[in-house]
């Protein structure tokens, strides 16, 4: 296989199949293998393949396939996703982890719109995630409200809460802006801890999802196949993730994306051209918070319990770390980075109390070795759209 053989339609399709298979295979292997030694070998193989993939032009091929044959690629991904669920069908824990990965990845897509496209820092991601979660908890008694509406309301209220921050975020820049969101994240957590109505530090119970009589807390049965009840959540969250991936892609590739790029790179020049900076910044900020809120509601309903301890400064930091490691502004990078950041601490459970230390060291190392992230965002190339 050479670089040239990966060009052309067939090569591109093969590349995207290989990349999807690599992702699915890695997930299954990492989630299913418990034995430390086997896991180590397996991670080494995955790392080797990931290192090899760009050298063989497979990554580039898959990328081009995404640009030229989006629907074919989407079909491949869908097949990959379905086979993933099928393989792990009764593994509760693995499906829970996949759902968690997809939730965090979606929230990080929101932060990608904010940080990656519009250049706005958000150190309060966990606060907006929490807003969605608490909305779902507060609406638990309103059983007449369909859960779909509840979930959407989680997003709307998170976005609305975010508008409080729009003024300071718009007026400030750089570290000053970082502090506004950081302070907001910390004060949000403090507020949750102190507020009795929201359950205080002990937290609240949240009922699971029911959509049109489809009860998500029962095992999913399709034909003669029986799936863990978490499969319900994986399917729903997968669908939402796909929707928002397409939404983000749309933003990135439309004029909005170009405007946002311009706003990020040179505000003064942009204002000279008459672009309304504040409008586009507000739009990006609100859209990102909406995504976080929606996923917060779903997350709360999936774990059926929320407490302030889930939405600390450290959790916001984790979200920023994902976006950065993925390569700021790269949607697929977000997914890969989320897998690493969510699965790594979990797989480090065996070193018990040392796991946070090792995690911090790994992140530092990654930042030193790959400052641009695992998959750096490409500079816009306009010829690519024929």
């Amino acid at each position: 296989m050479t670089v040239t053989s990966m060009k052309g339609t067939a090569g591109q399709i093969v590349s995207s199949i290989l990349v999807t298979a690599l992702l699915v295979g890695s997930l299954v292997a990492v989630l299913e293998i418990e034995d430390q030694r086997a896991l180590g070998i397996c991670v080494a193989i995955i790392a080797g393949l990931s290192f090899l993939a760009p050298k063989l032009g497979i990554l580039r091929g898959a990328e081009q396939a995404g640009a030229h044959h989006p629907w074919a690629v989407r079909l491949i991904i869908l097949i990959g996703f379905c086979s993933l669920v099928l393989i792990l069908k009764d593994n509760n824990f693995a499906l829970l982890m996949i759902a968690t990965i997809l939730i965090y990845a979606t929230v990080c897509l929101g932060i990608t719109i904010q940080t990656g496209y519009a250049g706005l820092f958000n150190f309060a991601g966990a606060a907006f995630l929490g807003t969605g979660g608490y909305t779902a908890a507060m609406l638990a008694n309103a059983t007449w409200l369909p859960d779909i509406v509840t979930i959407l309301l989680g997003g709307v209220i998170a976005a609305a809460l975010g508008t409080v921050l729009i003024l300071p975020v718009l007026r400030t820049r750089g570290h000053y802006a970082a502090l506004t969101t950081l302070a907001f994240g910390v004060l949000f957590n403090g507020f949750l801890e102190a507020n009795e109505m929201l359950g205080g530090p002990q937290g609240l119970k949240v009922p699971g999802i029911q959509i049109f009589g489809w009860d998500f807390s029962n095992d999913l049965v399709i034909g003669s196949l029986s799936f863990s009840f978490y499969a319900n959540y994986v399917l729903l969250i997968g669908a939402i993730f796909a929707l928002f991936m397409i939404f983000t892609r749309f933003i990135e590739r439309s004029w909005i994306g170009i405007w946002l790029d311009a706003v990020r790179l040179d505000e003064i020049a942009v204002s000279v051209f008459g672009l309304r900076i504040s409008v586009w910044k507000s739009f990006a900020f609100t859209a990102g918070n909406f995504l976080a809120g929606v996923m917060g509601a779903v997350y709360a309903k999936m774990t059926e319990f929320i407490a302030p301890a889930n939405f600390t400064f450290g959790d916001s930091l984790l979200l920023v770390a994902i976006v950065l490691l993925g390569g700021i502004g790269n949607r697929w990078g977000v997914l890969v980075a989320t897998m690493i950041v969510i699965l790594l601490p979990e797989k480090l459970q065996f070193i018990q109390e040392y796991r946070l230390l090792l995690f911090a060291c790994i992140i530092i190392l990654l930042l030193m070795v790959r400052p641009a992230g695992l998959l750096a965002r490409r500079v816009r190339v306009f010829e690519e759209r024929h």
Partner: protein, 303 residues
């Protein structure tokens, strides 16, 4: 009336500690345009260094005044050393990376320091008793309890703030630091050793953390591995409200934050749970009102 004075005294002590932490943030920002979030944990590191020094001094049978000097000295040196190491090993290599990378990196460095203290210091998760080395007791002046140690520490803290200010503004070393802060490239062509100057600036900034750590231990008689995180958030807030890069701004910010916290408890005791929430709301509001801090940074790039 008497309790107002008491609150004022408490606030003054906290404000001095916050101000010292904020000065560090402001120096790092001034020199390298970076926010070094591990600063709070450098403070913890210094305080634990001081604790070890106190243990050693007791074992060696030092007289109490010498033990005090030894504790403060080791705290400051431990902080300065680790601050310079972080600057040389982690901050300088990343100086061209986006600010977000630096922020995340230093936050992770802070986490690593914190976890190391927790795991490798004997019984590190538990709070540690810091020896009382200052004259205990105090005097009651019309109902206000003045502690000798409190008064001494506030005075020492303020004296150190002036010392740092003097180093930066009146010495050759300070001149070099300011030159690097203004324009690293030009400073280099003028024969200033860039790397060394940056490391020294970071060491000085970290010394303020060491002093704050020693003050903290001596005043509260107790230190713990996680005290740095919240101090970093407050110190960062203070530096920002004051205006990054401005030492006086950092001090104003520090006292302001302490004043806010104390005022909430004193005036609205029912809301004492919310004191950090309220203080941070005021911080956000202040930033919305003055986007580059109360005492604006020199050469702000606002158009």
């Amino acid at each position: 009336m008497s309790s107002i004075a008491q609150y004022l005294l408490n606030g003054l002590m906290q404000g001095t500690i916050y101000g010292l932490v904020a000065i560090g943030f402001t120096i790092f920002f001034g020199v390298m345009n970076v926010i070094k979030f591990s600063h709070g944990d450098v403070l913890t590191f210094g305080a634990f260094g001081g604790l070890v020094a106190a243990w050693a001094a007791t074992a060696l049978g030092f007289p109490i005044w010498l033990e005090l000097v030894f504790v403060v000295l080791i705290s400051v040196m431990a902080s300065a050393a680790i601050g310079a190491i972080i600057a040389r090993g982690l901050v300088l290599p990343l100086k061209d990376a986006p600010p977000l990378n630096m922020l995340l990196m230093t936050m992770m460095v802070g986490t690593a320091i914190r976890e190391c203290i927790r795991l490798f210091f004997p019984n590190g998760t538990n709070p540690q008793r810091f020896p009382e080395l200052l004259p205990s007791g105090g005097f009651d002046l019309s109902g206000v309890y003045f502690r000798y140690d409190g008064l001494i520490l506030i005075a020492a803290g303020i004296a150190f703030i002036f010392a740092v200010q003097w180093i930066i503004n009146r010495t050759r070393l300070g001149l070099a630091i300011r030159a690097v802060a203004e324009d690293g490239e030009t400073a280099r062509t003028m024969g200033i050793n860039f790397t060394l100057t940056v490391a020294i600036a970071f060491a000085i900034g970290s010394m303020t953390a060491g002093v704050a750590g020693a003050l903290y231990g001596l005043y509260y008689s107790e230190i713990n591995y996680s005290m740095g995180l919240i101090l970093a958030i407050i110190g960062f807030s203070a530096a920002i409200i004051g205006g990054l890069g401005n030492i006086w701004g950092a001090i104003v910010g520090g006292y302001l934050f302490a004043g806010l916290q104390t005022a909430v408890v004193a005036l609205l005791p029912a809301l004492s749970d919310y004191k950090n929430v309220i203080a941070l709301i005021v911080v956000v509001a202040l930033i919305a009102w003055r986007p580059t801090g109360l005492l604006a940074e020199r050469g702000s790039e606002r158009v």
